[in-house]
């Protein structure tokens, strides 16, 4: 196949409130290629793609699109997402872009509903079409379901189904796997390859190196809002990309750990918790200074389990012991009092208050621990200051609303919020969603540091390599119960996957 350019963007700049998010960047996208876009959190990847699809307007620069009949590039002005869609540009947004109050089918086809008699929406056809689209992404769920009822993974699948339903010429995937697990990710990769074969151009944004190297043909790297380079994937190695991204080489810390775990002290014990009605009950122990990984496929019930421990859902006949004593937890407030924290997987809906400042978000739980209800500004600033630098959150100032941050930086704020609390037990549900590779290792290091200081962590993750790299011990869940336990030493890709599919682990 010849390498025809479909989209070309040049000299693109964009500033938010005077701060440049993009500075004179460029990109060209070709027919039938998978083009990865990489860069640290806040590098400007999402912003550029939003400009391309008409969500944002650029401050300067030019955009060209291939005119299909003339087979040549033409300057275009994408004034709105609608124009973008009409010209064949579609995008899976990093932050969910679904209407929570409407059902799946309505979401996928909003504005494109099949019409029947007298221009009315043909609901039967609509549902039928939705079933078709959902089949493509392997999501077996009634399209009549309201989106607010879906889990993160399911929402992601719906987003993808929606983007694909446009039959677009260019499809942008902005961190699609951040809330998918292995199995769903594999389905997605297959889909992407099929699209490529049909001549569709795919822009793939991800912080996961394996995926990028498995899928992409070319890689464009941004740093700090500037264009660095575009390279052929086969010509480079991971470390090249990383140093392009961060400007220097990264020493990925080898995992240390295990030796700190104090097996003599059980800080948390969960007994007889029924995650789904009828499922085998869950029992496990968490030791002091341990990082306990929870792996499983989407819907395995890890989030549900976390919700029960954290007092969001009712525990039924189950029991929870903290440091040997039985505790009754019927609200997050109780959990926090018992020394338990939770970094939720849904950062937008449950982790952050988007319209509040970065500072206030970081402190909103922490201030509950203070004896005095009068707040001391300076003391607060010290706390936030530490985490902003420890986690390398890139921001204008801490009074900025958190919704203006890039996805990864938002995630860091949620983590900071819970670390600031210094809970004895911290449950982290998909803690590195959307976090760049450099920051990830900083977070791992921070987790380790916290455990050294006495914290115990439960880390729920669908990223196998992360689970394997960080955990001292791994529990695998399948359909609401624990299907395997692996120590750091005995874990392999195979036996972890086997357990995830429900197989007994020998």
């Amino acid at each position: 196949m010849t390498s025809q350019t479909i989209v070309k963007m040049e000299g693109i700049s964009k500033a938010f409130a005077g701060i440049k998010a993009l500075d004179n960047v460029q990109i060209d996208l070709r027919k039938g290629e998978i083009h990865a876009l990489m860069g640290e959190n806040g590098a400007g990847k999402s912003t550029l793609m939003k400009i391309m699809t008409g969500v944002y307007t650029r401050d300067s620069g030019k955009m060209y699109l291939q005119n299909q009949s003339l087979n040549q590039l033409e300057e275009v002005e994408i004034k709105s997402p609608l124009v973008g869609q009409k010209l064949g540009l579609s995008m899976v947004f990093q932050e969910f872009n679904l209407l929570e109050n409407m059902n799946i089918a309505e979401n996928i086809f909003i504005g494109r509903e099949p019409l029947g008699v007298g221009q009315t929406v043909d609901k039967k056809q609509l549902l039928q079409n939705a079933v078709e689209e959902l089949k493509k992404v392997n999501l077996d769920i009634d399209p009549n379901t309201e989106v607010s009822k879906l889990s993160c993974g399911q929402k992601q699948c719906v987003e993808i189904a929606k983007a694909l339903s446009f039959n677009a010429r260019v499809v942008v995937f902005d961190e699609p796997t951040a809330s998918l697990s292995e199995k769903e990710s594999q389905t997605l990769f297959k889909l992407i390859k099929e699209l490529k074969a049909k001549g569709v151009c795919i822009v793939y944004i991800s912080h996961r190196m394996e995926e990028v190297f498995e899928l992409s043909d070319r890689i464009t790297v941004f740093r700090n809002g500037k264009y660095i380079d575009t390279v052929s994937t086969k010509d480079v190695q991971e470390k090249d990309i990383i140093s392009m991204m961060i400007g220097h080489e990264l020493n990925i810390e080898k995992k240390s750990g295990s030796e700190f775990v104090n097996k003599d002290k059980v800080v948390l014990e969960v007994k007889n918790v029924e995650v789904f009605p009828g499922a085998k009950s869950v029992n496990f122990k968490l030791y002091e200074k341990e990082i306990l990984g929870f792996f499983g496929l989407v819907g395995a019930g890890r989030t549900e389990l976390a919700r029960v421990i954290f007092g969001v859902d009712s525990i039924g006949s189950g029991e929870i012991y903290v440091e040997g004593g039985k505790v009754k937890i019927s609200s997050p407030k109780d959990a926090i009092q018992a020394g338990i924290g939770l970094v939720p997987e849904d950062r937008k809906g449950l982790g952050l208050i988007l319209g509040m400042s970065i500072k206030d978000n970081m402190l909103i739980s922490k201030i509950g621990q203070f004896k005095s209800s009068l707040l001391n500004k300076k003391a607060l600033k010290n706390i936030t200051g530490t985490f902003i630098s420890d986690l390398g959150i890139s921001l204008r100032n801490e009074e900025q609303e958190v919704k203006e941050l890039s996805g990864g930086n938002q995630q860091k704020v949620v983590i900071a919020k819970w670390l600031a609390m210094k809970p004895n037990i911290l449950i982290m549900d998909e803690p590195t969603r959307g976090i760049d590779i450099g920051a990830k290792s900083e977070i791992y290091a921070l987790m380790r540091k916290m455990t050294e200081q006495g914290m115990s962590i439960i880390m729920i993750s669908s990223e196998m390599s992360e689970v394997m790299q960080v955990s001292d011990r791994i529990l695998v869940m399948h359909e609401g119960s624990i299907s395997g336990e692996l120590t750091a030493e005995e874990v392999t890709r195979n036996n972890i996957m086997q357990a995830a599919f429900g197989g007994v682990n020998e």
């Binding site: 969500v55 709105s80 997402p81 609608l82 973008g84 869609q85 947004f93 872009n97 679904l98 209407l99 929570e100 109050n101 409407m102 309505e106 909003i110 504005g111 509903e113 019409l115 221009q119 009315t120 929406v121």
Partner: protein
């Protein structure tokens, strides 16, 4: 659990219909007159103008906005109708003029809100004040009377045994139900109210949708205004005071969420009926006005409470 989510699957309407029926039984037992054809006609006629504007209000609230100017517009549109009828004696022209004013006011509200980015509360509060002020200035506090009996029929006439306002109401309800459930525009309304940003990103012409909803509201309100005015028998600068509150209350009681994105025209209609049946019945059994107010407050709380409680797991 602690969510203020209002069920959209008809449960609330059913429950409310239950409350309405219960009320009907109680009233009938206390005064059999309640079930007379006369009184039913009476109730429906009294419900009609609120229902018509409440159809629009429901859409307004679904898109996450509010319209405080409805009462003043009822007054203004009615006055315009009355003035035109007085001067031209042409019923059609009078109706057109009133509706045009309604559409224009709706357009202003919509543009201020969608293009000017004003909160709907502010934009319509301003129109409310301005329209009411103008009504008094222009009439000097006097009422406007006309002499064309056909114009009067809008609010007082019958088509066979059915009052004309009731027929207009039915048309408005059908229009509202169809628009919100059967047409693409209906999907847009829920989308915009559910999440404006997302809607924009999904290619929905958010500005147009908002403006159009306000225009629809304006038109429906002006029709309500024609009914009110012709029912009263004269154009009154004080007509429609607090009318918007009735519409909003009916919508919310009927399950529309003030935070947008959720609600049903049929729920609102049941809400209007509940309020009308309540007032009518209380009067029929001879209850004092101020006890009526107390009871009304209690029943509103109980009926909405029963519903939210029923759903809280």
């Amino acid at each position: 659990m602690k969510e203020k989510k209002i069920n959209i699957n008809g449960l609330r309407e059913l429950l409310l219909v239950g409350v309405v029926l219960l009320l009907c039984v109680v009233w009938t037992v206390m005064n059999p007159q309640f079930l007379s054809v006369n009184n039913i006609t009476n109730i429906l006629r009294q419900a009609s103008y609120t229902a018509i504007a409440a159809v629009g209000m429901t859409m307004i609230i679904i898109i996450g906005e509010i319209d405080l100017s409805a009462g003043s517009l009822v007054c203004a549109a009615g006055l315009v109708g009355a003035v035109v009828c007085k001067n031209t004696n042409n019923v059609l022209l009078s109706i057109l003029a009133a509706v045009l004013v309604g559409a224009l006011v709706g357009l202003c509200n919509g543009v201020l809100c969608a293009v000017g980015c004003l909160p709907g509360f502010i934009a319509t509060l301003a129109s409310m004040t301005i329209l009411r002020g103008l009504a008094y200035i222009i009439t000097g506090g006097n009422s406007i009377v006309w002499s064309n009996d056909n114009f009067t029929k809008i609010g007082t006439g019958y088509m066979g045994p059915v009052p004309i306002p009731v027929i207009i109401m039915i048309v408005a309800i059908i229009f509202g139900v169809m628009l919100t459930t059967k047409f693409r525009f209906g999907r847009y309304i829920y989308a915009v109210g559910g999440n404006m940003e997302t809607s924009r990103w999904s290619g929905i012409p958010v500005v147009k949708v908002k403006i159009l909803v306000y225009v629809i509201m304006g038109v429906l309100t002006s029709i309500a205004g024609l009914i009110v005015t012709t029912r009263l028998g004269s154009g009154q600068p004080s007509a429609g005071l607090n009318f918007e509150m009735d519409c909003i209350t009916a919508s919310v009681v009927g399950g529309t969420s003030m935070s947008g994105g959720r609600g049903k025209v049929m729920g609102t209609i049941v809400g209007v009926l509940l309020l009308t049946v309540l007032t009518n019945g209380m009067t029929l059994v001879g209850m004092n006005t101020y006890w009526q107010q107390v009871l009304k407050g209690v029943i509103i709380v109980v009926s909405v409470l029963a519903d939210t409680r029923g759903k809280a797991k």
